[in-house]
């Protein structure tokens, strides 16, 4: 029993190491994704439904069992779900605003599975696949900025490499000056930045957008990536190194969008959220998610959307 399994494992290992993308093992993976993706989707939505019910019904049904109370509970549950729906609408709104400013046609999707932390890879599965027009190598973003890129697409689900994965790299442009560099994921540590011009003067808080790739895959240009946290001066090197704090918090990903078509023109940094003002206090509204800030901020900056692009 054990020997044939071990032989099979070794054969698969060699096949996978030798084959490039689109090989036998990739077909095996997409076959597995076709079966297991929907299972994960079901488990994820079941858990969400149970969570909603649990939050709305704790301790009430036990005390009063008459019909009136039951009706009351149902209404209460409805109110809670409406709250959650409103949050989701706000997410979608922010996502659409970013994609609207940059004119990205996006397919919205939800995160349904996450690679366990001990797998040492920052990847998620989302519930949009090749049936929705998603292909490997497309950019994934949400209302805050760049999320990652599509690794491989199954029929109804696809795997996304998050920007915090150690294997993730993206070309970036500094807002304003347009200087270019490369940002690389580093797991739970902040992303690493290396600027190609050692003479570049960068300050903490400078903001980065994607540079865009040839043929707009894997990255469309102009998606906000993050803010520079610090820059080290290392004498004798040709580039300047630093760290970047991404706008997107991978631990709280829910609704994301896959860019199925690149924008017609490069939006540059026109889609960056405006600089936070010192006096404004949008956070005082005790909103649980930061996406509501994005909506506040973008409305205070109408010039961004009216910038001539054609």
């Amino acid at each position: 029993m054990l020997a044939p399994l071990l032989v099979l494992t070794v054969v698969l290992l060699v096949l996978d190491a030798a084959a490039g993308p689109g090989g036998t093992t990739d077909r095996l993976r997409s076959g597995a994704a076709a079966v297991l993706g929907p299972a994960e989707r079901g488990a994820s939505s079941l858990a969400r439904a149970l969570g909603d019910a649990g939050r709305g019904l704790t301790g009430r049904t036990r005390r009063q069992l008459d019909a009136l109370q039951r009706e009351n509970d149902a209404l209460r549950l409805q109110a809670r779900t409406a709250e959650d729906d409103r949050r989701r609408i706000a997410d979608l709104d922010a996502l659409m605003r970013v994609s609207g400013l940059g004119r990205y046609p996006v397919v919205p999707a939800r995160v349904i599975a996450v690679a366990p932390l001990h797998d040492e890879a920052r990847r998620v599965t989302i519930d949009a696949g090749s049936g929705d027009g998603v292909r490997a190598g497309m950019s994934v973003l949400n209302g805050d900025g760049l999320v990652g890129r599509v690794l491989r697409a199954g029929p109804a689900t696809c795997d996304v490499l998050l920007l915090t994965d150690p294997g993730f790299s993206v070309g970036v442009r500094l807002e304003g000056t347009g200087r270019i560099g490369v940002a690389t994921g580093a797991g739970s540590a902040p992303m690493r930045l290396s600027l190609l011009d050692a003479q570049t003067d960068v300050r903490r808080g400078a903001r980065l957008v994607t540079l865009g790739s040839a043929g707009d895959r894997p990255f469309v240009p102009g998606v906000p990536v993050g803010e520079v946290r610090d820059v080290r001066v290392s004498p004798g090197t040709l580039s300047r190194a630093g760290t970047v704090k991404p706008y997107v918090d991978p631990a709280r990903l829910d609704l994301v969008g896959v860019v199925v078509q690149p924008p017609r023109t490069d939006p540059r940094d026109a889609v960056l959220p405006p600089r936070p003002s010192r006096t404004a206090t949008p956070r005082a509204t005790a909103s649980p998610r930061p996406t509501t800030n994005a909506s506040v901020k973008t409305t205070t900056r109408p010039s961004a959307s009216t910038e001539p692009r054609r």
């Binding site: 054990l2 190491a17 597995a32 994960e40 488990a43 599975a113 366990p116 001990h118 040492e120």
Partner: protein, 168 residues
């Protein structure tokens, strides 16, 4: 083991993996590195010994490598879980007398798996986080007390264990 029993094991592994990636990895518990699939492997290894443990482990690892979001080379997890199952099987004799044997078995299996994962991550990314991975060892030991008896109960319902004499 009979074919029906293997099917049950495969089903248990599948359920455990889906719960791992779709629910546990998204919950606040994710930091602790819970791994239900490893505990299914440990349970079978305790019931049937190292050889079956290793075989179940290889199956589990292949499944882990194929479930989206699939990470790394196809087969690396298979070797890791296989080795973990073989190690956990060393406690199978003691497991007949005490349920607590599941704790050291699960801890040892988790240590083996962490080692393989660290090696894999170091080769793939050139870096690895020891602290993040180490959390999964005590988690496995604690969860073993709950999950292993449950898995064994399911397993016993499907294929009743033959008497000791017949096993020789």
């Amino acid at each position: 083991m009979s074919a029906g029993r293997w099917l049950t094991v495969a089903g248990l592994l599948l359920i455990a993996r889906v719960v791992d990636v779709a629910l546990l990895a998204r919950s606040p518990l994710a930091e602790l590195g819970p791994d239900l699939m490893l505990l299914v492997v440990v349970a079978l290894a305790l019931a049937e010994g190292s050889m079956v443990g290793a075989a179940v482990g290889v199956l589990a690892g292949l499944l882990a490598d194929l479930t989206p979001p699939a990470t790394g080379l196809l087969g690396v997890s298979a070797l890791g879980y296989g080795l973990a199952g073989a190690v956990a099987g060393r406690w199978s004799r003691r497991a007949r007398y005490s349920r607590l044997a599941a704790v050291p078995a699960a801890a040892a299996a988790a240590v083996v798996l962490v080692g393989v994962r660290m090696l894999d991550a170091a080769l793939r990314n050139g870096q690895t986080s020891v602290t993040g991975l180490a959390a999964s060892v005590p988690t496995a030991a604690v969860l073993a007390l709950l999950v292993v008896p449950a898995v064994l109960a399911v397993d016993r319902r499907v294929g009743p264990e033959p008497p000791e004499v017949l096993r020789w």
